[in-house]
């Protein structure tokens, strides 16, 4: 079976789509934030790979065709943003200040806790940019000597946890304005937070999509400052 899977082009795509459809079906049945199609899909695939003793690299090698579509999908975030362009013009100060404060909070809190828990510099660098989109974060991790698979994993956990916990966090901090809800989701939980924001509403989705790009760019600028503080 291993030899077949290593030469098959479609099995990883089929596996990904099947588990994602199961995830969507579960989400439709039980209305819980934990029933997140992405989370369910990832868990099912990991179980599948472990049960059949298949290397992650074998799966990754065939599933990369799905990952290719992340770039055009991110480009498409410009569309909900353009639909809300008037709102953005009106509130650009709040948008920039909100995202910048989030980016600084992210890097400062990760730095403080890394010192507190005494983790290695390599691990700290790998976690530093975990709130932003995978494509930018991996570039930063490699630039400053971290391990990119840790970054990718941390980003995934962040995204899933961020979208699952968002409704509770918004209640605790009394965040009600749709613009702020979107900014908070996108700055803390990147693309996964954004697909949650798109579910909540068009303003939330647009602001969250903008946050992915702006938080990513601000992190690129601030990374050299934070990278050498440990």
């Amino acid at each position: 079976m291993k030899a077949f899977l290593e030469n098959s082009v479609f099995w990883a795509t089929i596996l990904t789509l099947t588990t994602y459809m199961i995830g969507c079906a579960v989400k439709n049945k039980i209305n819980s934030p934990l029933a997140h199609p992405l989370l369910i899909s990832v868990i099912l695939i990991i179980i599948f790979l472990l049960v059949f003793d298949i290397e992650y690299e074998t799966y990754q090698n065939e599933a990369k065709y799905i990952s290719y579509f992340l770039t055009p999908a991110t480009v498409c975030l410009a569309i909900p943003l353009y639909r809300q362009i008037e709102l953005l013009k009106k509130h650009w100060k709040a948008v920039v200040a909100g995202i910048l404060s989030g980016v600084i909070t992210s890097m400062a809190s990760i730095l403080l806790m890394s010192i507190l828990f005494g983790i290695t510099k390599q691990l700290y660098i790998s976690l530093m940019s975990k709130s932003i989109t995978t494509a930018i974060a991996i570039g930063i991790t490699e630039e400053y000597g971290g391990i990119s698979t840790i970054t990718a994993a941390a980003i995934c956990v962040t995204g899933v946890f961020g979208s699952i916990s968002s409704s509770i966090v918004m209640k605790i901090f009394r965040i009600k304005n749709p613009i702020s809800v979107g900014l908070a989701l996108g700055t803390s939980a990147h693309a996964m937070g954004t697909s949650k924001a798109l579910e909540i509403g068009p303003v939330e989705g647009a602001m969250s999509g903008l946050s992915i790009a702006l938080a990513g760019l601000m992190t690129v600028v601030l990374a050299p400052l934070f990278a050498n503080l440990i």
Binding site: Y59, C76, I79, G139, T149, A184
Partner: protein, 128 residues
């Protein structure tokens, strides 16, 4: 009916072409600009600029774009399964790593939302 089906088909091909072409321009910029900024972020801003300047009209990309946005979580699945190969590096510090991820995510969400909401309320208060 068949004739109209073919017309529609051309529309979607064109929509797909525009989105992929902008992704490609993003790749070109990524190649020439030495910063860790991915093609997708350049592409996002190019698309926004094209929409604002009306070089591209909303109905020339809308249908396919909405499909891509709905399908976006699926494109994140393969990278997320990568947790499998990261686990060996993290094992010894697992609790610290989990704590860092969870606490900072909540803090970032709270701070971003509160700061922006405060400023929005201030500006809207002034106008009244």
């Amino acid at each position: 009916m068949r004739f109209f089906a073919i017309l529609n088909f051309m529309k979607y091909i064109k929509e797909l072409f525009i989105i992929l072409f902008i992704s490609f321009i993003g790749e070109v910029l990524r190649y020439f600009i030495p910063l860790p900024i991915p093609a997708s972020v350049y592409g996002l801003f190019i698309m926004l600029l094209c929409l604002i300047t009306k070089i591209i009209k909303l109905d020339q990309v809308e249908t396919t774009a909405d499909f891509f946005l709905l399908a976006m979580p699926i494109t994140l699945v393969p990278a997320s399964v990568g947790i499998l190969s990261a686990w060996d590096f993290v094992k010894s510090h697992a609790w610290a790593v989990v704590a860092i991820i969870l606490i900072s995510t909540v803090l970032v969400m709270g701070v971003t939302g509160s700061v922006s909401q405060l400023i929005i309320r201030k500006t809207e208060g002034k106008k009244k």
